[in-house]
Amino acid sequence: MSKPRLATAWLDGCSGCHMSLLDMDERLIEIAQQVEVVCGPYVDIKEFPENVDIALVEGAVSSEEDLHRIKKIRERSKLLICMGDCALTANVPSMRNAWEPDEVLARAYIENATMQQQIPRTSVPRLLNRARPVHEIVRVDIFIPGCPPSADVLYFALTELLAGRVPDLSSRTRFGA
């Protein structure tokens, strides 16, 4: 039997959740032996692959590209797992949501910029009106709260999943943990 295909994805987040994954240290080897890592910031693949068994998603849905990607990830994955508060709650990326994107961009790239005051418009994806948690866009199977979820929590969640169980994380992590 082939190993489960694991993919990770990085939307609008700080990459802290992926750092936490790396923090599993030697346990990474143990996980790696049980899965085939097919996509993620650590893997040089541009297009999210087909037939993914487990997709770990970090980050909120903030731009048109995030929106496009999360829909593709959902289509191509059996289990979609939200990793960390940005994916769960939109977290820090959502702090711009009380304002319009243009106001936010103007504040960042013009009002607070000392040189080259201009809003980047080419070769960057357009911001959505609001940064949104993943489950508001597509169906999510499992949520792992935390900012970031600790390596222990991620390890526990992954080993439980690989053992065919739904991880009970309520006593291990929370929003902001």
Partner: protein, 553 residues
Amino acid sequence: MTPEELSKIATIEQEEQQQHKHVIQVCVAAGCLSSHSDQVKDALDKEVSKRGLENTCHVKGVGCLGLCAAGPLVRVQPTAKPDAAVMYQAVTANDAADIVSSLEGPPVKRLVCPTNVPFFTRQKKIVLENSGIIDPDRIEEYIAVNGYAGLLQVVSTMRPSEVIDEVMRSGLRGRGGAGFSTGLKWSTVAKGRGSTKYVICNADEGDPGAFMDRSVLESDPHRVLEGMAIAAYAVGASQGYIYVRAEYPLAVKRLKAAIRQAERAGLLGNNIFGITFNFSIDIRLGAGAFVCGEETALIASIEGKRGTPRPRPPYPAESGLWGCPTLINNVETFANVPPIIRNGSAWFAGIGTEKSKGTKVFALAGRVTNTGLIEVPMGIPLREIVYDIGGGIPDGKKLKAVQTGGPSGGCIPEQHLDMPVDYESLAKVGSIMGSGGMIIMDDTSCMVDVAKFFMEFCRSESCGKCVPCRVGTAQMHDLLCRITDGSGTADDLTLLIELCDVLRATSLCGLGQTAPNPVLTTLQFFKHEYDAHIQKKTCPAGSCTIHAPAEVI
């Protein structure tokens, strides 16, 4: 005031009224007043004095005559033949001369408002018996039609417990909405601990489209005072408050005048009718918060605090105003009390249905020919109200639903139109009697939009104290906005239904607990309209502006 004095006032007043050959009654309640009935009355007054008829013709302002849609209304009544009275509609000041000229001849044809039609003949007036007949600003006129006779009867011949028994036997239920047994409420307050007790009249009428209480206060204020005094005697209270919304300036003015007159006449104050019964009434003005119609919020407001409800129990009957046992009844409930005492509980219990006794006043509004104020016996079929009394739907449109109970009520569809109007039947279809607002809707009304309207009302009237009502009404309103503008999804509908359950089960007071009712009843009877907005992005009634399907964000 002694019993003899009371009957003397009545006799003098009746004799005086007999001296006039004609009486011209001009409605000066808020409805007709808004179409300048005060100018009509002035013009009639002038016309009468110009012709030197002051001694034979009496022009007086009276309360609501009911058919507000046809206002200003004027009624000319020959004293000798009251049944030959003629009603005029849409009267202007320019018509005064013609009306006065017609006193001795045939009526002014172009103004006549037929009164042999179902709108008038199918009503049964108890609460409104004096409305449109007596001058609300004169206590003598109220006394002349048996006013304060109930109070006299109670304090001179009955023990408090007998009064409560009488009210209990009448089967009277609270007219404010929930329909709790009035007698039971009185007896609980009577049994309450402590010597200080209060009687409060809830006149914070706030349902959109409802104006029953306003009309009673404007047309017959003494009836409410008498009802309160009888209640005070029964429960052992010596202080009463009328909590009336400041948006009813005319009602407040008439109440103030009525209280002053009753005090001067010794019908309020100390040693009423010469016994050791003291009762005073003060007015407290509400500052425009719908939630202050909820009894605990109303009490907080009277106490000078922020008008927010508190959890019950303890109920006000046990611990109310300043911690004392407090009786709170609505205007219409108190207005029913004097006739119950005068005519006996058996008379009252003979009207209506098995569990809903007496009559109910409704403010008929919306897409119906005869908008106005009506009083009907409990149990009357809804169809009769809409098609006979209401005169049906104008412009050849088709009836879609009848909304009762305001933001706490529901929309009753055509197929239930033959149901009797009573507390139980209305509850069975998911609505409530409520305080008496009745809005008729035709096929141009979108039922999702109606639900949105009431949810917007609840959202802006929620006090914000408890979480489910504060956040839930806002969430539900947003969801309904999305559905009506075409961006709603099936998930939105699922969440909407879930929130209905949460608000109903967990909100602190009636406002939040009943806020889902308009959504629930429209979902029950008009689910296809929700589906049309969500799936087909169309509004079947054509009243919602559907935007082009937007991107998901």
